[in-house]
Amino acid sequence: MKSRALVLSFLVLRLAADSTLCQVPERSESGLTLRPPEAHLDSGSVFHALTGGETQLVLSSDAPLQKLAATSSRMVGYLVVPYDVDEGGPPIAAGAFRIPVRSLKTGLERWDRALLGSRFLDAARHPEVLFTISSASSFSTPEVRGDSLTFTVEVKGRLAVKGQDVELTLPATLNLIPSRLSLYSKTFGDYAALKGEVTIDTADFGWKPSPRAAPLFGSRIHVSFHIVLSSVPPDRDIDPFIDRTLHARRLRFDNLLQDTDDPVETYRFGNRLMVDLWDDAEGLQGLVESVLRKPGVARRNYAFALKAAHRAVELSGAKSARFLTALAQVYYERGEMDQAISWQQQALKEETGLGPRGRAAVESTLSRYLAEARAIAPEE
């Protein structure tokens, strides 16, 4: 009886603890946005973080003997700004963000690996850092510049790292900039930008360096964030006739490639997508280019890319220089130089319609392949 009561008490306490945990909505089908709950959607305009572009987050330690700065541009999330924010009241009603741990890059490969390890962020068990905003207060009237508003705010929320979450209050600036033609290169929507800085104590997340290690690792992390958001979700294509489901899956594949370390799931998803794109040369080419060229991909499966690239070339009748050079590059990455050179040469044929600049670029790459092939050929 006593042990049963203890177990029950533990469970109750555990549940109570869980209820205070950072609750961040799940990602959308594309993986590039989150799914705000209905209550958030009714609270105001939802602005979605523009992910994959500029740096959104910079973390740096205060260690006296080692300066590490990790950046991420892969944060996804949203803010809710009340509709009539210009008439007073809190400028932020809610918000939530997910930061893939794998997206944090120091520029030093060994530190990138170390950060993912169990000693630091333990990406295998906690692949994302989570942040929710519960409220924001503005202590002064907004600064008005034309039709843009700037609020100085104090944001309250919860930050969860490695399964531990803490309450956070941090000062920030919120800029609201309505859509304008000159900004369409970024997106068509209205903009919000949330900027700020905060210093957090690593001990709050269960990590404290030993006295010997302290000069190298520090015990506080300075977080600087600059999140640009848009009222148009990043997975929204303005082409009204696009197949939205396929488009979302296409984006999801990129998301799996770049933000997860799960090649099994990534390429299982990719294979299913390839089946649906089997008669779509451009769609297949997109898969090839993602595997070949997207930054931060944990595992580039060139067998997968080869299958898609060959089919794209077949569908295009071998008349697309873009498809042919991508196929050549896949072979190059696999170390199959003869095939790489052969397909690259194919791209120079007249029927591929290359202009002078395109031709020069293809020839340059071909020269590089030829030089490498000669360099690695066994000496006679």
């Binding site: 859509s179 304008r180 929204r236 006739f241």
Partner: protein, 447 residues
Amino acid sequence: MRNLLHDRQRRIVPILLFGLVFSFGHRSSLHAQLWDQFGGPNRNFRVESGSLSASWPPEGPRQLWQRELGDGYSQVLYEQGRLYAFCRRGERDVVVSLNADDGEVLWETSYDAPLLPNQIAEFGPGPIATPALVGQRLFTYGATAKFHCLDKNSGRIIWSKDFAGEMDRGVGRGAGASPVAFGDLVIQLVGGRDRAVVAMDQATGEERWRSPHYSEGYSSPLIGRVGSHDLLIVAEGTVPSQISNPLATRNRTALDPRSGELIWKVPISGGDYTMSILDLGQDNLLFGSSAYDGGTRVIRIRESDEGSLQAELLWSTRKMRIAFGSYVRLGDHVYGSSGNYGPTLLIAIHVKTGKIAWRKRGFARASLLAADGKVLILDEEGSLAIATPSPDDLVIHSRARVMERISWTTPTLAGTRLFIRNRKTIKGLQLGLENPRAAAASRREEK
């Protein structure tokens, strides 16, 4: 003898009275069944109708018929049991007249209309502009800037003009302003230097006047009256080459429809990529809204003691931005679908103050039309709803998916029949109150 005459009078008078009542009632019901230009008979998306059922079965209102049509976004016209639709098949513009009862083709006329060299067809090749039905003539303006006058009974082309061929211009994403009639003129916003607004004789096409430089746009001009003045109100668009120029002016203007003479002009600051639908209320408030970095603006027009007109901006806001859907003004509120690529909301806004009364989620970009004290809402996903709007709320009575996306064209309501189209198909729906058993029997027959 006197008694006999008296008796005959007693029989005849009621018959005469009945005839008068019937004829008046019939004319008003005929007028109620008319959609002869962009926005309906009054160019404001408000029509008289029969009683519309607020309760639909899950599959939606009963479909009367459906047929393939062709590409384009023009509204369908209706008059006396006939529909007039403007579409495109391949490289040809097609004007077709259909029997409204069953969708059968009565006549069809087409002409070559290859896309212009710089025409951008990312949203389709058009046509965009809605024709105008005036007397026995039907006036069409295609996306490639070809203007035609046809005989509405036979489809015979009476005269035509090619504005793109005569003048060197681009049509952007397709010429989109709908023609409007005034007296014996048909007036078209063409755009560009020296050929901006063109007024033509309806019978012959002879050009009667032409206004000076205008930026072309997709906004359809409006004929209105303020005091003793007839006005042709035009929303100037954005010349593609000036899109990035924040200093380029775009104006709401009013011209004398008889001469093209400028009466007033109100400059619009900042960007206003104009697809704005204009509405002039009885209170002489001119409402217009556009998306992108546009917004909603109300211009107040006043007649001075000397009889001249002045116009000034009363208020503007970016909290309501209508992309291309129609909106309706009922009383002091406008009800419309705001938003473009981001979230879209149905919004009620006070015309005199710009205060937002309410916002509702749940529809993609939508077009509205008002009839029978209700609004019909058709969103681009093909979802149709019937609702009762008020300054306090929007009560949705029924909703059903009736069309494939993309449904960007405002439906046409004639009586209790609704005609909707997208880029491929046209269909007729029955929205009137029906005997449930008869309706069910009709559905079984259709299956």
